[in-house]
């Protein structure tokens, strides 16, 4: 009985008495039995079934990152700069996200440990706490912006702010009360796909496809040239695609789902498919709000719903309602994934049970952190007079600034042969990851220079 796993466990110095079987294990084992059955069969259908069983964390993290602030950043991008430089730039940022997120999926599959847990174990609590503080602050600020997006989006339909926040919290509770990772993942995937609602909105604006194609190839035009405003949008768009919570979420979700070394190839497909879907929605959002730029409408004070209201004369009530719904969906899904990221990290660091397969009684701390993070962020959004769009853009900027330190930990772990064995990053992946770290650091430095010495841009020929 169970000779394989136990003998391997014994080889690691683990005795039978050490093995405590939990409900979490049983639920995960059920999922793995289905994966093994699909893998054992031949034929195209079985391959698709295997892919269907294994996709999830990659698509969820990418569509989850197309969250409220991200969609508002993309909308602000389209309204301020139209169709041009930012279309291919956003596609590039998703390519960076693939490079980074593939490493987290590989780490989770190889070690069966969450990101926070690995950082604490391998680098010690000193660096671990730095990492946790970055994650905790970043996640909380981002959660606030998710509720801003939900409030703004539902505001388009006349829903009062308090009701918007309460409905988001109810959605969060419904999403997690299945106490089963598989059910939670499939439910959230079905909702997350609604992120593509921005595609029909873009089509309703009757975009000039020649301009879209030309922009994707030439990276032009960039109205206004290089300026501090442009840099803030550049950083906000990067922050809309690669952020610390994604590293922690995908690795923890990969572990909770139970992916193993055998699944890494399909895990990569999961990540790439997620990035492709998310990039499509992001590009569609820029295209959808580009008419605001063409009609010289200012986007200075737009919130999620106000973008929808501004678009209404151009695409009609139906199109505007779709846009507002898209903002709500983005905020709702991300409020779940980001709260999950915080709760997973807390459980890993505090050595408390942390899995969506846990019944509430056995995962009180995990579920409490999850809910309290969201509830506190929701309450803050109800404070009147917050400069919402500015907060949203700044949160994305802060996310970019926090990425290089987080990426270095990821880079070191993915190249740690004691942890990864033969799954350490290949040279090409290290080169790409190094490029991403350097790019993000330079973007942050450039932003710093633009704030401290804005005249430098005039010398460089910008504004």
């Amino acid at each position: 009985m169970g000779a394989g796993p136990l003998s391997r466990a014994k080889a690691q110095g683990v005795t039978q008495a050490d093995v405590v079987i939990t409900h979490e294990d049983v639920d995960r084992a059920h999922d793995r039995v289905r994966v093994s059955a699909a893998r054992a069969q031949r034929g195209t259908f079985s391959k698709f079934r295997l892919l269907w069983l294994l996709v999830g964390p990659g698509i969820l993290v990418m569509l989850g990152e197309n969250d409220g602030p991200s969609m508002i950043s993309y909308a602000a991008t389209g309204a301020r700069f139209g169709i041009g430089f930012f279309l291919p730039f956003v596609v590039l940022t998703f390519c960076m996200a693939i490079v980074v997120q593939e490493m987290t999926m590989r780490l989770g599959s190889a070690t069966h440990r969450g990101h926070a847990e690995l950082i604490f174990d391998r680098f010690g609590p000193f660096w671990g706490w730095f990492s946790m503080i970055d994650l905790g602050i970043g996640n909380f600020l981002t959660l606030i912006t998710e509720f801003i997006a939900i409030r703004a989006g539902l505001g388009f339909f006349g829903v009062p702010p308090w009701a918007a926040v309460v409905s988001a919290l109810v959605f969060l509770c419904l999403a997690i009360m299945t106490h089963r990772y598989w059910t939670w993942e499939r439910t959230l995937l079905a909702i997350a796909v609604f992120n593509l609602i921005f595609v029909p909105v873009a089509l309703l604006t009757h975009p000039n496809w020649h301009s879209v194609g030309s922009a994707l190839i030439t990276w032009k035009p960039l109205p206004g040239g290089l300026s501090q405003d442009t840099l803030i949008i550049v950083l906000a768009d990067i922050g809309a695609t690669v952020t610390p919570w994604m590293l922690f979420f995908q690795q923890s979700a990969t572990v909770d789902k139970g992916l193993t070394r055998k699944d890494i190839h399909l895990g990569r497909i999961d990540t790439v498919v997620g990035a492709a879907l998310a990039a499509t929605a992001a590009v569609a959002t820029i295209i959808a709000t580009a008419p605001l730029f063409a009609h010289h409408m200012t986007a200075e004070n737009f919130q999620g719903a106000e973008f929808a209201q501004a678009l209404q004369p151009l695409i009609g009530r139906f199109g505007a309602a779709l846009f507002a719904l898209g903002i709500v969906e983005a905020g709702m899904v991300a409020s779940v994934t980001i709260s999950m990221s915080s709760a997973y990290a807390f459980g890993e660091v505090a050595r408390r049970p942390h899995s969506l397969n846990l019944p509430v009684g056995q995962g009180k701390a995990f579920y409490s952190v999850l809910f309290l993070c969201a509830a506190t962020a929701g309450a803050i959004v109800l404070i009147p007079g917050l400069p919402l769009v500015y907060v949203v853009l700044l949160v994305n900027v802060v996310a970019v600034l926090a990425m290089p330190p987080a990426l270095v930990f990821l880079f070191m772990l993915a190249n740690d042969r004691e942890v990864m064995g033969d799954l350490v990053s290949p040279t090409w992946a290290n080169i790409l990851a190094t490029c991403v770290v350097v790019f993000l650091t330079l973007a942050g430095v450039l932003f710093g220079v633009s704030v401290i010495a804005p005249n430098v841009f005039a010398l460089l020929g910008g504004k």
Binding site: M1, G2, G4, P5, L6, R8, A9, Q12, V14, Q16, A17, D18, V19, V20, I21, T22, E24, D25, V26, R28, A29, H30, R32, V33, S36, T111, H112, R113, E117, D121, R122, F123, G124, W127, F130, D134, V255, G258, T260, R351, P353, Y390, L394, V397, V398, L401, A402, P404, P405, V408, M412, D416, E418, V419, T441, G444, F447, G448, V451, I452
Partner: protein, 72 residues
């Protein structure tokens, strides 16, 4: 036989067999309490980590200054 936790009395022996035959040992929740050994950081690694930590703190100050400047 592997043991069951107090809160897991409804887990049957069939469940246990399925768990042990379908999960890798490192996937078992109970075995995750075992720490992965600490890694000794070498000089260049410490330098990079400290540099990025200082970079982050400095940039946060820049962001706070930018918020302050835009509010005034």
């Amino acid at each position: 036989m592997p043991s069951k936790d107090k809160g897991h009395s409804s887990i049957t022996s069939t469940d246990q067999e399925m768990v042990l035959s379908s999960l890798e040992p490192e996937q078992l929740a109970g075995l995750k309490k075992h720490l992965i050994p600490r890694r000794h950081l070498i000089g260049p690694e410490k330098f990079v980590l400290w540099s990025l930590r200082i970079y982050l703190l400095f940039m946060i100050v820049v962001v706070i200054y930018q918020v302050w400047a835009s509010l005034h």
